[in-house]
């Protein structure tokens, strides 16, 4: 299916968000996720199915003031 990952179209095969992070190489990364604009806690990722057209945001630490 095709989702929008951090603003860019991306083809993935995973059926839920936890599997998608593994597929994307972020299995052990310290990241936070939001699906279609709503925060998705780590514990809820495996139970969250992905659908065509979903917008997935994967955020990580960055410099800030």
């Amino acid at each position: 299916m095709k989702i929008e990952l951090n603003g860019t179209p991306r083809q993935i095969t995973a059926g839920n968000v936890a599997d998608a992070l593994v597929e994307l190489g972020w299995a052990d990364a310290r990241v936070a996720t939001a699906l279609n604009g709503d925060f998705l806690p780590t514990a809820a990722r495996a139970g969250q199915p992905l659908q065509d057209g979903d917008r997935l945001e994967v955020l990580a630490p960055m410099q800030g003031g």
């Binding site: 951090n6 990241v31 925060f39 955020l59 960055m62």
Partner: protein, 253 residues
């Protein structure tokens, strides 16, 4: 030093992690400043985030995530929730920007987000103005720390509205307050502490200096001076001169 949501800080200096010419300079600047808090943000993972996150944790000081760049309460709330998970802290520097040029906070969005986040267990550090009414509303919403601006973010102007800041400080003597944004010189930081503010938060003043590490050290010394001066009970100001040298014994010439 005041209690920031149960934490007594070693130094009243909070320093940002953005805009350094290199990671090494950032590390040296933090060491030179003696800062007790590092501010950080969250952005889309692009391959750099993990290493940077580790570098910040290795500073060994408190981490204060921000919601920089958020322009409404919903964005800020979601960002705060994500930051809590990544940085494993309830602390959040709540920024809801209301104007693109001045970068002043949107007081309505700020209050909305502060209410929601406080109710959700966050320790909210709201980036606000010197407005007393808004300050009271933020306290009513659950904020136990306020972060009034000195001047627009990145402007380096210092304490723009001394009257407003002085009255804000006097109105809420028991609330820890951090001057956040607009500082350009160490003297601004010392000034803020001498006015009774509990800490300062800055970033550009250090990173835009020609020698960021030296400037970081200068700010570290300034906050020490400001703290000591405040504890030393400064003299009062008077309109007329008063001779300091005794007149008794002066020769009749």
């Amino acid at each position: 030093m005041r209690d920031f949501y149960g934490v007594m800080l070693d130094s009243p200096l909070m320093l940002g992690t953005a805009q350094y010419p290199s990671p090494s300079v950032m590390q040296q600047a933090f060491a030179a400043s003696g800062a007790s808090v590092a501010t950080v943000s969250l952005r889309r993972e692009s391959g750099q985030g993990q290493a940077f996150g580790q570098m910040v944790r290795d500073l060994g000081i408190h981490i204060l995530p921000n919601t920089a760049g958020c322009h409404n309460a919903r964005e800020a709330i979601t960002t705060a929730q994500m930051a809590r998970e990544v940085f494993e802290t309830n602390w959040i520097k709540l920024e809801v920007i209301g104007h693109a040029d001045t970068l002043q906070p949107d007081p309505f969005g700020l209050l909305d987000a502060a209410e929601t986040l406080s109710a959700d267990g966050f320790d909210v550090f709201p980036y606000t103005t010197e407005d007393q009414v808004l300050a009271q509303r933020l306290i009513d919403a659950g904020c136990r720390v306020l972060m009034p601006w000195g001047a627009p973010i990145g402007s380096g102007m210092g304490l723009n509205n001394r009257y407003g800041l002085r009255t804000l400080r006097a109105a809420f003597p028991d609330i820890p307050m951090v001057i956040d944004a607009g500082l350009g010189l160490p003297s601004h930081a010392a000034d803020a502490l001498e006015m009774g503010f509990d800490a300062v938060l800055l970033n550009s003043a250090v990173t835009q200096a020609g020698d960021p590490v030296a400037m970081a050290r200068a700010f570290g010394l300034a906050v020490q001076a400001g703290t000591l001066a405040t504890q030393a009970d400064p003299m009062g100001v008077r309109d007329m001169g008063a001779p300091s040298t005794p007149l008794i014994g002066k020769a009749w010439l």
